[in-house]
Symmetry: C2
Subunit: 277 residues, 2 copies
Amino acid sequence: MELLSQTEVFDGWLRRYRHHSEATATDMVFAVFLPPQVMAARVPVLYWLSGLTCTDENFCQKAGAFRLAAQLGLAIVCPDTSPRGLALPGEHDEDDLGSGAGFYVDATEPPWADHYRMYEYVTDELPTLVEMNLPVRADKSICGHSMGGHGALVAALRNPGVYASVSAFSPICHPTEAPWGRKAFSAYLGPDPADWQQYDATLLVASAEERLPILIDQGSKDPFLESQLMPEAFRAACDAVDHPLTLRMHPGYDHSYYFIATFIDDHLRFHAQALGA
Amino acid sequence: MELLSQTEVFDGWLRRYRHHSEATATDMVFAVFLPPQVMAARVPVLYWLSGLTCTDENFCQKAGAFRLAAQLGLAIVCPDTSPRGLALPGEHDEDDLGSGAGFYVDATEPPWADHYRMYEYVTDELPTLVEMNLPVRADKSICGHSMGGHGALVAALRNPGVYASVSAFSPICHPTEAPWGRKAFSAYLGPDPADWQQYDATLLVASAEERLPILIDQGSKDPFLESQLMPEAFRAACDAVDHPLTLRMHPGYDHSYYFIATFIDDHLRFHAQALGA
């Protein structure tokens, strides 16, 4: 891992690293906040998965999360949202496909299959790398926003026992029925919807092996609420199998990082409690 | 004033407005955070002046200030850092002159004099507009970063009785001796250094009519510390006339918004106490 920068913040450190990824067959950059407690002992880790068009930087700059994370002794790892540095056909043409829009799936279709393997990257390769090279424990939780909320829910539902807790802001809950999800899954996974189900939280929760409690915050003025996010479909799927879900609707709030900043402390406390931080 | 957007955040509202400015003879955009307390009563206002290359948005997105401002009942107004929408000769060629670099002076030299009047804008026109149109009291304080820290100190020192308190992060304390300041002042104010003194906090403090306590935070790893910012010169000038100054040096911190975010709560409490918020 190559250290690109280190910035002091809240008596802890924000670092950016570049490393070669086997999963994506590219270099990848990620950010990590290390709280001051790492001077004394290894700390648990919260993984943050970002939404469309984001990089590793949006959450770090805009969420206002490091103040409380420094108090709680929680490291936060922020991966990028896709491979970078490629020039695949159509890769940089649209906000919701290709660069910045990896959707946390392992693509099987050309031209994406050799590189767009963000599911393997965030659930396997990156945690292994982080745990080998940084002063953190193996205890981890996962959280995300929009496309990244989808990624967090899928990662937790498909990997029982791996995450101590999972939460999401404004997640794409049912991508196989949402325009963003259908477009991305068609491109990355091919035309057969049967191949998409492993990446749809609303479809996965019925067979979840673990009753891991889920926290979701959603703004009522989010312009994507009905068309793309569908939290009510996820609620119904959870209710059908009695999966524990706390879905909080917040009147007046939108899809932005101002919404995330307003409620991020609740998520940090939720995860810190599960992680014993 | 034209309302461009309103975003719910921490139970308050971030609004962006556009209005015609007499001072700059252009349209200007500013941001204002209104805390939830405005539903019951008018609130005091903190003016935030940003640094080089910034707009009204940097502080709102990156400082993490609205959480505590919402608790304290403090409005925060963030003006832009220069006029926009012009095409003066050389205006957009460099980061430290022209657009994004108004330096909070009233220019007297061509081609700037008709528009680059940010001192009048932030100390007179904008507060008048805000107090006429928004649910705020006339009680106000001022704060800023880098070029905006310079602007805040100059505004407070030149307007006794107007601001309840003043503070700054990494301010350009002595611009007449700093490369950024000398370049900007030469262009905006002409070649005679006698005309620059009215915009140099280190020179102004000797004749300050009011012993308003000043709070300054400065990172020791700030790359501009010695060459551009010169807090020790300002400290010496304050000491010489016994002007109350709290200058806090923070080991390890740099010039970024991560430094601001780390200590913004201290500044908000400092101003809220002075404002009776």
